[in-house]
Symmetry: C2
Subunit: 461 residues, 2 copies
C-alpha cells in the first residue's frame, strides 16, 4: 500500500506500512479473537488489517451497539475496508456478477437471503411487509470494528488514507466501475416534478474508468422504476427496500443520456460512524452526533473524521460509498458506487483532549488538508432529543433552517473552545470567513455544514 499521508505529529503511514500485517478474515469469528480478548495482546507496531465485504462482515441498514465486531484493532492500526453500495442490484450485471463479495452480500433466492435483516424495523416485516428490517435504513455497512480501549467520552480519529472504486467483477466490463443514482421517492424533487409521468423514480447508471487516469464519471443509461418482484415474492411498487434485484427484462434502458457530460469524481463514504448508545438497532439513514450517514463528499481521501465515542470499543462501520455527490444530494442519492477505503484509526482519550481541537467535541468533525468542517443537523442528537419515537419522528421534523441553527452553534463552540476566541470574535469571524452549505436534504435528519480554512489561523494544529 502506498500512501501520501504526512500529517504532522501523527505516526506516518510510511512507517506504519513498513510493518503492516495483512489479516484477511474468512468469516465473522475467524482470524480475529473476540474483543476484548484480542485487545489483551499488546500493540508493538501498527498493524494493517483488511476487511473484505461479504455476508458475514456487513450489517445492512442499521447501527447496533450489540453487533458483534468483525475486527479488533489497537489505536494506530490501519484497516482496509471494502464497502459495497446497496444500489448494486440496480444493475447486477455490472455491479455484482463475478464479484464474490457482492454475490455473497446480495445473494437472495426464493429460499434464502444471505443478509436477511435490512433496516432497523421488525424482522417479520409486520409494518409494511417489505421484508426483514422493513428497509428502515438502507446502507450496507462493513464492520463494526472494535477499537481497544475506547470508552464513552473518548474521540475516535479516522484518517481516510485512500478511497478507490471497486472494479466490476464481470470480465465484460474490465477496467470499469459502476454506480447508480436513484432519483427516488425520498428525494427533494419528488413532489415537485414538471414533466410527466408524475411522480416517477429514475435510476441512472454511471461508469468510472479504473485506469487511474480519468477523474470523472459518465452516465451510461437510465431507466424508470417499474414494480419489481423480489425473490420472496414481494412486489416493490417503489424503491422501498434495499437490494431488490432489478429485472432488466421489464425495464426500459434509455441510452445516450447526459451526453458528453463528465461528473468530477469525489470518492467518499456517505456513511461512516460509530454505534450510538441511546437505542440498540438504529436506522442507518439519519446522521447524528455519532456520525453515520452524513453524506458530505469531503469525507474522502485525505480527510480525517473525529467522532465522539458512545460505547465501549467505539464500533466503527463504513459504507454507503459514493463516487460523486453534490452538496444537498438533491434527488436522494449520490453516484452510489462500491469503494475500498484505507483507514487509520487513532484513539484520542478524553484526558488528552484538553487544548486540542477535540476539546468538548460532541459532534462529528471533519479535518481536511485545508479546512475544518463542522456538521450541523436539524437535530444534533435526534435519538436523545426526540425520545422513544425518534426513529419515526425524525422524518417529519427536519428542516434546513434547524440544521443551519445547529451548524452555527457548533462552529461558534468550535472557535471559542479550540481557538480561545470570545463569542464576539467567533461571530465576526463566522460572518466574514465561514461558509455554510447544504449537506443533504434527503436523510431524515437534514444537514448544514460550516467550513473554515485552516490557513486563517497563525498556527494550524
Amino acid at each position: 500500500m502506498q500512501s501520501t499521508w504526512t500529517k504532522t505529529g501523527a505516526g506516518s503511514v510510511a512507517g506504519a506500512a513498513a510493518s503492516f500485517a495483512l489479516m484477511l478474515l474468512a468469516g465473522p469469528t475467524a482470524a480475529v479473537a473476540a474483543p476484548p480478548a484480542a485487545c489483551a495482546t499488546p500493540s508493538t507496531a501498527p498493524q494493517h488489517y483488511q476487511i473484505p465485504a461479504n455476508a458475514e462482515t456487513v450489517h445492512w441498514g442499521y447501527f447496533s451497539k450489540n453487533r458483534k465486531p468483525v475486527l479488533a484493532v489497537h489505536s494506530g492500526d490501519i484497516v482496509t475496508i471494502e464497502t459495497l453500495t446497496h444500489h448494486a442490484n440496480d444493475d447486477a450485471e455490472r455491479m455484482i456478477k463475478g464479484d464474490p463479495g457482492a454475490e455473497s452480500v446480495f445473494g437472495w433466492t426464493k429460499d434464502k437471503k444471505n443478509v436477511d435483516r435490512r433496516g432497523a424495523g421488525p424482522m417479520d416485516a409486520s409494518v409494511y411487509g417489505r421484508g426483514a428490517g422493513e428497509g428502515f435504513g438502507v446502507h450496507i455497512l462493513t464492520g463494526p470494528i472494535y477499537v481497544c480501549g475506547a470508552e464513552p467520552g473518548d474521540i475516535l480519529e479516522v484518517r481516510i488514507l485512500d478511497a478507490r472504486p471497486r472494479p466490476s467483477g464481470n470480465p465484460k466490463y474490465k477496467g470499469k466501475s459502476f454506480g447508480s443514482n436513484a432519483a427516488a421517492w425520498w428525494g427533494y424533487h419528488y413532489k415537485d416534478l414538471i414533466e410527466d409521468p408524475k411522480p416517477r423514480e429514475v435510476i441512472t447508471i454511471y461508469e468510472v474508468e479504473t485506469d487511474g487516469e480519468t477523474d470523472w464519471a459518465q452516465a451510461v443509461y437510465s431507466f424508470r422504476w417499474v414494480p419489481q418482484t423480489d425473490p420472496f415474492g414481494v412486489v416493490h411498487e417503489i424503491i422501498d427496500y434495499p437490494g431488490v434485484p432489478v429485472d432488466h427484462s421489464i425495464i426500459k434502458e434509455k441510452h445516450g443520456i447526459l451526453n458528453g457530460i463528465r461528473i468530477p469524481l469525489r470518492p467518499h463514504f456517505g456513511t461512516l460512524g460509530l454505534a450510538p448508545d441511546e437505542q440498540d438497532i438504529v436506522d442507518s439513514i439519519p446522521p447524528s452526533n455519532f456520525g453515520g450517514n452524513i453524506d458530505d463528499w469531503r469525507i474522502g481521501k485525505g480527510g480525517t473524521m473525529y467522532y465522539p465515542v458512545a460505547v465501549e470499543g467505539a464500533l466503527l462501520s463504513a459504507g454507503d460509498s459514493h463516487a460523486a455527490q453534490g452538496d444537498s444530494e438533491l434527488a436522494g442519492t449520490a453516484i452510489e458506487m462500491s469503494l475500498t477505503g484505507v483507514f487509520q484509526l487513532v484513539l484520542r482519550k478524553k484526558k488528552d483532549q484538553a487544548g486540542t481541537i477535540l476539546e468538548g467535541l460532541d459532534f462529528p468533525l471533519l479535518e481536511t488538508n485545508t479546512e475544518w468542517v463542522v456538521h450541523g443537523f436539524s437535530f444534533a442528537n435526534y435519538l436523545a432529543e426526540l425520545g422513544d419515537k425518534a426513529q419515526q419522528e425524525i422524518y417529519s421534523k427536519s428542516s434546513i433552517d434547524l440544521a443551519m441553527r445547529d451548524a452555527f452553534r457548533k462552529m461558534r463552540r468550535f472557535l471559542m473552545t479550540t481557538r480561545g476566541l470570545s463569542e464576539d470574535e467567533a461571530i465576526s469571524l463566522m460572518s466574514v470567513a465561514v461558509d455554510f452549505g447544504v449537506t443533504q436534504v434527503v436523510d431524515g435528519n437534514w444537514g448544514v455544514h460550516a467550513t473554515i480554512k485552516k490557513a486563517i489561523f497563525p498556527s494550524p494544529q
Copy 2:
C-alpha cells in the same frame, strides 16, 4: 487601466481601454446629457467612463426606476464605479476623513445632511423617527446607469473587470483600506447569544494593506455599540439608521482581538442590480429577481452577472462593497469596505437570447471563469408575490427552506433550458454535481445559491 479580461467572443478590455474616454461627473446633471439624449450619439468604439462617489452620484438605501441616471452608456462601454460602504462612519477617522467623496456623501451637520433620504421609508420619518427614509434599506448605491436601448425582456450582462479596495484618505493610514463588520440586531446570531450582555451589537474594524501583495484582512479592534446621537439629535439605541457617526469618545475600543488571524480577501459587490418595475422606491435590503443585495462573495473580479431588465434603460446601481464574506453572512454584514469596480456593460437583446445561457432567464445568474451560479431566494420575486405590503412582509416570511426550493427550481430550469437536458437528466446531474450553499440569512429575502462547474459540459458556452 490594466485588465486580464479575456472572455472569448467579447470585445477585449485591452482593446476597449485603448480607446477609452474618461468622463468625470461634476454633478448629477453635468457632463452627461440626460438619456435618452446621450443615446442618440452613435457608439463608434467602447468608451470608458468613471463615476466618482459623491452626494450627487449616489442614492442611499433604495432602488428606484424614477431615479435620474448619472450616466448613459452604450452596450460594450466600460464604467469605473466608486462605491462607498454605508458603514464608513463606524470609524470616520479611517474611512471618511481626507476622502472628498466619502466626506461628501456622509456630510451631516445639525443643519444639513448631504444625502437626506436613507431608505425607502417616508421622508418625514413618521414610522419610527429614525430619519428620512427610516433606514428601510441601508446601502449606498452609486448610479443608476442608463443603458441605451435596454428594454424589459432584455438581459444586462455586467462583467466585473476589477474590484479594488479604496485607500484611506487619511494620511495617517496611508497604504491601508478599512472596513467594518457589524454583528447587528438583524444578524442570525442576535437572539442566540451565550455570553453577556445579551443582546448586544458589536462592530469590528478590519484593515487591508493596499500594496497589492497581501491577500488578507486583519482585525484592528472592536467595540460594542452604545447609543449614538446623530447630528439632528436623534438617539440611535441600536444600529437602526445607516451612516450615523459613531462618537469614539463614548465607545470603548478593544484592541488585540482575533490575534494573528488572516481573513482571505473576497472583494465583491454585495449589492449590484437593476431598478425593479413593481414599485417606485424599493428597499435595498431584500434581493430579488432584479438582483440587488444578493451578497454572494463570488460576485467579484472575473465574474459576470446577468440581470433581467425590468425598465427602460435597465438602470444599474452598485454598492454595498465587501472585502470578504462567508456564505450566510451570519452576523448581518460582511467586512463592509469601499471598493472601486470596473464594469463592462453588455446589452443582450431579447431576440438574441434563444439558444444561449440567457434563454428564459428571469433571475440573476452569475458566471465565473469556472462556474455558473443560480441565485434562489425565499421569494423569487417578492415584490410581485407578496403584493402591496411586500416590503414589510418579506422580513417575516423568509426561510432557508424556501430559498432552497427556489434554487432547485432555478437550476433545473437552467439545465433544461440552456443545456437541453430532460428533467430526469437535470435532476440526476443536480444530485451528483451541483452544490447548494447558504448565501445569506440576514437580508429579508434569504438566499440559497446553486453552483455547477462549466467543465462538466463538453463545450462551455
